[in-house]
Amino acid sequence: MLSNALRTRTNLFIAFIVILNPLGNTFLRAGMSRAGAPSSWTSQGLALFFGKAFQSGTIWLGMILLMLFLICYMLVLSWADYSYVLPASAGSYVVVGLLGSLVLGEHVPLGRWLGIGLICAGAALVGRTSPATGMEG
């Protein structure tokens, strides 16, 4: 039988995933938009572009956050079902919507809020199932 500790640990790691992934992507996007598009698509132009991008602390912060996301994703998959983790981590769309609306002041259309509601409902349904139908790990 599954322990409550397993469910709590799984949901804790999914919470990390749901926060770290959009946060990492937000920093990457902010850093890359500041770096601007490559001035030319030659190897020299691309080297200059990547050189400039990797000097940005924002991009490094984004990459560190995404690396932490990947570690959490790998660890949670070492004990939990993929068919549990995949839909449950779609909660990152909810975080993106909330970050966009509350922090960046972006307009979020009604249809998008409806979609966010469906994702929450779906993730809640998945959350009622056992995180690991195989053996404990």
Binding site: S83, A90, G111, G115, G117, A121, G122, A124
Partner: protein, 123 residues
């Protein structure tokens, strides 16, 4: 046709990568109870698994197909189309990982896929 083919590569290679990564992680964690201190060692042991590197290869293929298809197709078409990965993922979990996907979990997966579709198409 070209777009549909590449979207299929994005979804199948991406899901395939996730399935292989799950296999690799389950393998390194077999018969080993979880401890917070042991977590980093679990990651290190996974890096020695050929399955993990096959997973990374498929994820890279998925990413390359994704940016390639974006060079001609609209993002508003491509991103929602990749929401099918929630369904393909559940099928892969059932068939390849032998997970027990209950009716409630299927219902949740369908709601999430519909929600992602709405989020990506609204506005």
């Amino acid at each position: 046709m070209r777009t549909a083919l590449l979207v299929a590569v994005v979804v199948l290679a991406g899901t395939g990568g996730d399935v292989l990564m799950t296999m690799a992680m389950k393998k390194v964690a077999r018969d080993e109870p979880w401890t917070w201190r042991g977590g980093p060692f679990r990651i290190l042991r996974a890096l020695a698994q050929p399955l993990l590197w096959a997973a990374v290869g498929l994820m890279v293929l998925s990413f390359l197909a994704f940016i390639t298809v974006l060079s001609w197709a609209n993002m508003t078409l491509v991103v929602p189309a990749t929401a099918t990965n929630y369904l393909v993922g559940a099928v892969g979990a059932r068939l390849l990982l032998k997970e027990r996907v209950s009716r409630m979990r299927w219902a949740g997966v369908l709601l999430v896929a519909a929600g992602v579709l709405l989020v990506c198409t609204a506005g």
